[in-house]
């Protein structure tokens, strides 16, 4: 336990130091809050606008969660399909890689043209963004099951489903979670872009309003919320990983004796 606190100390100190320098620079050079608000001003703005920020944040988190859940599900199912049917994988993978390279900023407006300003285009955007890392890492993981375990399953006559459920899926979990953590960390930024493009709620929408009103402290307040949300999603994915993958030996940390 003491070790854990000691590990958290350097990054926490760095953040505090960063905020202190920021605050000092703002005070020392008397910087206009319109250009760069001080941490204290941002905190005051957040406190003052708390109810609104909370409700907007709630909407954003809900959208992110729905998009993430949908994207991850589609990713897992298609990873299994690609794993089972290599022809489908080789046929579709160039298209998927190309689609992955279309910028969200270009795709968003098109989706709005096609699907209107409702929830649908935002969800589609999120699914497209969340899908790829999960599908690809999962697909890799499904092929990574140890050859000798694969041979064992074949020798005792396990079928395709049995091999998938008992061997390939568990073996792919570490890969799945590395994909999920990436996706979870940046899914909220994609939700912000989706809300920023069109809509009437969410932190992305709040950001648009505050930027148009040159309310820079509120813009920073929104940024703080977005970063916090992103950390929250990443943290949840990492927590889930720790809860599910329990068979791996505890990683030995540098300097830490206890495993």
């Amino acid at each position: 336990m003491e070790n854990k606190w000691r590990r958290a100390l350097p990054p926490a100190a760095a953040i505090v130091l960063f905020a202190a320098v920021w605050q000092a620079v703002c005070a020392l050079f008397d910087i206009d809050p319109w250009t760069l608000p001080s941490p204290a001003q941002i905190a005051r703005t957040m406190a003052g606008d708390a109810p609104r920020l909370m409700s907007q944040m709630g909407a954003t988190l809900r959208l992110t969660f729905e998009g993430l859940a949908l994207g991850v599900s589609v990713g897992v199912v298609s990873a299994v399909l690609f794993h089972w049917i290599p022809a489908v994988r080789s046929a579709l993978s160039p298209i998927l890689v190309m689609a992955q390279n279309v910028p969200v900023i270009a795709l968003g407006p098109l989706l709005i043209v096609w699907f209107g300003f409702g929830l649908t285009p935002k969800l589609i955007l999120l699914v497209l963004v969340c899908y790829f890392p999960v599908a690809w890492s999962m697909m890799t993981g499904l092929g990574q099951a140890e050859p000798q375990l694969r041979e064992y399953m074949a020798m005792i006559g396990a079928g395709r489903w049995e091999t998938l459920l008992r061997l390939e899926l568990p073996a792919s979990l570490p890969y799945f979670f590395s994909g999920l953590k990436i996706t979870a960390a940046y899914s909220i930024s994609s939700a912000i872009v989706a809300e920023w493009l069109g809509g009437s709620e969410g932190i992305g929408h709040y950001l648009v309003l505050k930027e148009k009103g040159f309310d820079t402290p509120a813009v920073f307040a929104a940024i703080v919320c977005i970063v916090a949300g992103s950390l929250l999603f990443y943290g949840l994915a990492a927590l889930l990983e720790r809860l599910i993958i329990r068979w791996r030996p505890e990683p030995q940390r540098r300097g830490g004796g206890a495993g």
């Binding site: 074949a154 006559g157 049995e162």
Partner: protein, 262 residues
């Protein structure tokens, strides 16, 4: 009892060749063998003599070019799911507990979940591994992992147990220990076993019959009845017949190698 002589596993004139880069490599050349109910039969042969290929054909993972496999009196050539298997590496699932590993194998063989769990727990207790039933396999030593792997093969309700050099990766002391343990377990349970090994002593210690295979392409050089009484004594190697059989097999294997110019 008529059951005594019932043939559980029969390989008839099994032949297999592999094609690689336009060339063909014959691996098995008309190999025939039988394992009767409750019989411990060993295949011994030089490395790369196609024993693993023969196992894969018996397991139905591969098809022979010609010849048939019959298990439990039925033609099962190219069909999976009729044997239980213990490989050289323990091959336990790292994400399942020791008990879960056994239960999973039983589930693949169609045993219900509750019954599989019950049997796994009961048997682990019986072989003195009850204390680690809920641990992950990685905390077990190599020898203990192989005991679990053997138990998993023993409990699967299949006509034949195929043990593929199960002790080859163990150190000498653990290996001797495991041989004695396997002997006791088998003499109590009397399952039909097909065992592969490189060790002549191991073969003579454990088996009722030994098939000596030649180097690749494999043929059966000789079928040897092992005359030592059951239950077998641990110092059976002191008997003159043991030494005689050992040199007979050694000569056969050496001759088989000489034929290939190895």
């Amino acid at each position: 009892m008529t059951d005594e002589n019932r043939v559980q596993l029969e390989a008839v004139d099994v032949a297999k060749r592999f094609r690689r880069g336009g060339r063909t490599f014959p691996v098995l050349e008309r190999v025939s063998l039988t394992v009767r109910a409750g019989e411990f039969v060993t295949l011994i042969g030089p490395s790369g003599s196609g024993k693993s290929t023969l196992f894969r054909i018996i397991g139905g993972v591969e098809r022979p070019d010609s010849g048939r496999i019959r298990i439990g009196g039925r033609d099962t050539t190219g069909e999976r799911g009729h044997i239980s298997y213990m490989p050289q590496q323990p091959s336990l699932f790292p994400w399942l507990s020791v008990r879960g590993n056994i239960a999973a194998a039983l589930a693949v063989a169609g045993v219900g979940k509750a019954e599989a769990e019950r049997q796994a727990a009961e048997w682990l207790e019986r072989i003195g591994l009850g204390g680690v039933a809920n641990e992950y396999p990685r905390v077990l030593s190599g020898g203990m992992q192989q005991r679990v792997s053997f138990l998993r093969a023993l409990l699967m309700p299949r006509a034949v147990m195929c043990l593929d050099e199960p002790f080859a990766a163990l150190d000498a002391l653990t290996r001797a220990d495991m041989q004695a343990w396997l002997l006791r377990m088998w003499e109590r349970e009397r399952r039909s076993v097909l065992f592969v090994t490189h060790s002549i002593e191991e073969a003579l210690m454990l088996s009722d019959r030994i098939y000596v295979l030649s180097a690749s392409p494999a043929v059966v050089l000789r079928e040897i009845e092992v005359p030592f009484a059951r239950p077998r004594r641990a110092d059976v190697w002191k008997e003159p017949a043991f030494t005689a059989l050992k040199s007979e097999i050694l000569e056969l294997l050496a001759g088989g190698n000489a034929r290939d110019g190895v």
